[in-house]
Symmetry: C2
Subunit: 268 residues, 2 copies
């Protein structure tokens, strides 16, 4: 048996999230069906983590075992022939048996796109969160930096059974290596999306966060808190208080919409 | 009664074209419903022309008569509150009673986007035509220029009842002011779409055509012919022969897919 590592991009707006669910169109289920058609084998590819309905991926990583001798590059071509255009296989590589898409991950990067213009171009609606109202963006930039370092992120985790799934451990301590809001192209250069170029560059506010791992809903709950800080409803210093409370109830922020979130990369 | 001119952008992938059809989600029908909710009046806004299912618009123009005193800017805001995110009202303006979105148009510009990279980013799938195979792009550039000027475009018109609808006249003579294939950003700068920035700029081939008017399917049939020239199946000089034949049957090209086509602007 070979252990194969796939790198995938997908438009999350067309799926009920990554994880296979009976009767629903999911990325994992769609991928499993495509692999079965190519190799004749029933496998459930394991992702680096789940993404929720509506969340996009520029480079999700998944592994699966196969007895098929198909060369990696042929597998990429065959997958892209079978998969819907909303999922693309970017790369395939044989990896050691001990390699695991989730457990072997050392860092992940997500980004969150907010469209700040008055009118959100229709071509961007699935790919950003449209927030045209006033925000103190400087306060958001400062608040984002405060999160860098090791923290217990319980206050920013979803209160649900999936909470501990990603890392199969009870601890909610994670290390955030970098946490930045930017108005520029640099941060999340990859997921540039439809709509007037000039407008887009003038109107997008992008959050990029790289960390050792992320709890369920963590990035969207952080963005929700940054938005409250931007609106002036919450102070930057409240972040520390909320972190220390280690309770989702201590965090008044709503979970930001899925459409703006992208899994950018997974490092091993 | 006031005569109002609306400028609209829409993502054609979510609609069965512009024209209202019973039981189908169309741009015109969705817009009429939104206007009815705002003004209480049942009107059918008249577009500058129909767009087919899957065809996008960056600045479609539509007019309708209303007794409502609503200020133009308020109408834009109210429409964008009611319309789905796939249609955006960009502008509203009161115009003279004799102004007609279709009949008053002096020129229109369309563009057609072809994605040339091996793997089409999932975020672009609805917004381009993916053609990763070899093309003699220089031959396409030369062929496009040959179309500039006044011609009878019968050979590039759909053979269907809608053929003469746009201009309500029997003549298929139109003037093409400019007709260009380009690898650069300039031509169709507006509809930049999702996916890796660098990739996009390296991988998009864009056709931009500005003319006095266009027959049903004309741009997509021209693109189909340019693709045959690019593949070497047809010679550039065959274009003249096909034009002179004044018959769709003389044109071996398939109609290019709707996903790549954009109505860019209408001039009055």
């Amino acid at each position: 048996m070979r252990n194969l590592k796939l790198t995938l991009a997908y438009d999350g707006s067309e799926f009920h999230g990554w994880q296979v669910q009976p009767g629903l169109r999911t990325v994992q289920g769609t991928l499993a069906d495509a692999i079965a058609r190519i190799t004749g084998e029933q496998v459930l590819p394991q992702g680096s983590g789940r993404t929720d309905a509506g969340v996009h991926a520029l480079a999700q990583v998944a592994t699966f075992a196969t007895a098929s001798p198909i060369p990696e590059q042929n597998l990429v071509v065959a997958l892209n022939d079978i998969l819907p255009p909303a999922i693309r296989a970017l790369e395939a590589a044989e990896v050691p048996h001990e390699f695991h898409a989730r457990k072997s991950a050392r860092a992940k990067t997500y980004c969150y796109r907010i469209y700040r213009g008055d009118i959100c171009p229709p071509f961007l609606a699935r790919y950003v969160y449209h927030h045209p109202y006033p925000l103190d963006e400087d306060a958001m930039v400062r608040a984002a930096r405060m999160l860098e370092g090791e923290h217990d992120f319980t206050s920013f985790a979803a209160v649900d059974p999936e909470r501990h799934v990603e890392d199969e451990e009870r601890s909610n301590v994670r290390t955030v290596f970098s946490s930045r809001w930017e108005r520029v192209q640099g941060g999340c250069a990859q997921p540039r999306a439809a709509g007037p170029t000039q407008e887009r560059e003038d109107h997008e506010l992008i959050y990029t966060v790289r960390g050792s791992g992320f709890l369920h809903h963590m990035v969207r709950n952080l963005v929700g808190a940054f938005l409250l800080i931007g609106k002036g409803t919450m102070r930057e210093t409240d972040l520390t208080r909320i972190l220390n409370a280690r309770s989702r109830a201590a965090n008044p922020a709503a979970t930001a919409p899925a459409s703006g979130l992208y899994l950018v990369s997974v490092e091993y």
